[in-house]
Symmetry: C2
Subunit: 165 residues, 2 copies
């Protein structure tokens, strides 16, 4: 009677699977929490970043909410139309557009955020605090490493692609 009838399980692949599943499950909590207030995930993301970091260029916001630039424009447009966010030009660099919360926007996110934070706490509560911190450390390393390798690949692809085709 063998212990492992098929394969000794590929650890990296297993990590990727459980990472995706964990993200999905927690994201559903997050989504549900946010949906209560009539916002989408990325809309909430924009408001939250501006709430905690203050006025920021679109590109900085984009990096934090993990969607492409064209999607960011779309989301910001909606928030501007709803009177929650304002666009403003800078003198220092005329390419960038700064985003700020309006008073209404600040009031909205300020009222929502605590409940949302609570929802996230409950979502990850299967791990005790100590293990949450440990998981966070490991995930940070994992994420930074993956992002780093990604940058390398992009550069290689950009150099190879046009040159070799």
């Amino acid at each position: 009677m063998r212990r492992s009838p098929v394969a000794p399980v590929d650890v990296p692949l297993r990590l990727w699977v459980v990472l995706a599943r964990a993200f999905d499950a927690v994201e559903r909590h997050s989504r549900a929490s946010i949906a209560r207030f009539g916002l989408g995930t990325t809309e909430f993301g924009v408001l939250e970043v501006l709430y905690h970091k203050g006025e920021l260029p679109v590109c900085d916001v984009q990096r934090r909410i993990l969607v492409e630039s064209s999607s960011t424009t779309y989301v910001v447009d909606k928030l501007v139309k709803r009177g929650l966010v304002r666009r403003r030009r800078t003198a220092s660099d005329r390419r960038v557009i700064l985003l700020t919360l309006t008073t209404a926007g600040r009031r909205l996110i300020g009222g929502i955020f605590p409940a949302h934070a609570q929802a996230i706490r409950s979502a990850v509560a299967a791990l005790p605090a100590r293990q949450q911190a440990q998981a966070a450390r490991l995930l940070r390393t994992l994420g930074l490493g993956a992002a780093e390798r990604l940058k390398g690949k992009e550069i290689r692809a950009a150099a190879d692609g046009p040159a070799l085709s």
Copy 2:
């Protein structure tokens, strides 16, 4: 001179942020790896599940690829049109539709999978094997717990919603 000028950082929120970032970074590797072969993430997901598990009902496939049922129909349709997957009815339960790879589908995914697995290994290589296993354990607990709490909430919402409105 204080150690922590602002806040002592909320561990659950930080965990959620690094989880999302790690997922995003690894997912980009995965996406890029899969795109080389002219497939989308979910298309690949369907092929891979069928490759490793054999013939399966649509609903089983759906649970594993983490998209809603309507999206599953959409993706399976595309794969059927491309001649990679076949739909088949069962006598035992006439509601379910079984999915299988065609010969072409099996050949395709069989040729692709090793390279993809390699891409994933490289994506998560920032963590040594020991820590990968540790992260996988923590994420498994986290994901299962979050999914569990989610089920509870849905039931509560279904009971509350219609009754109280």
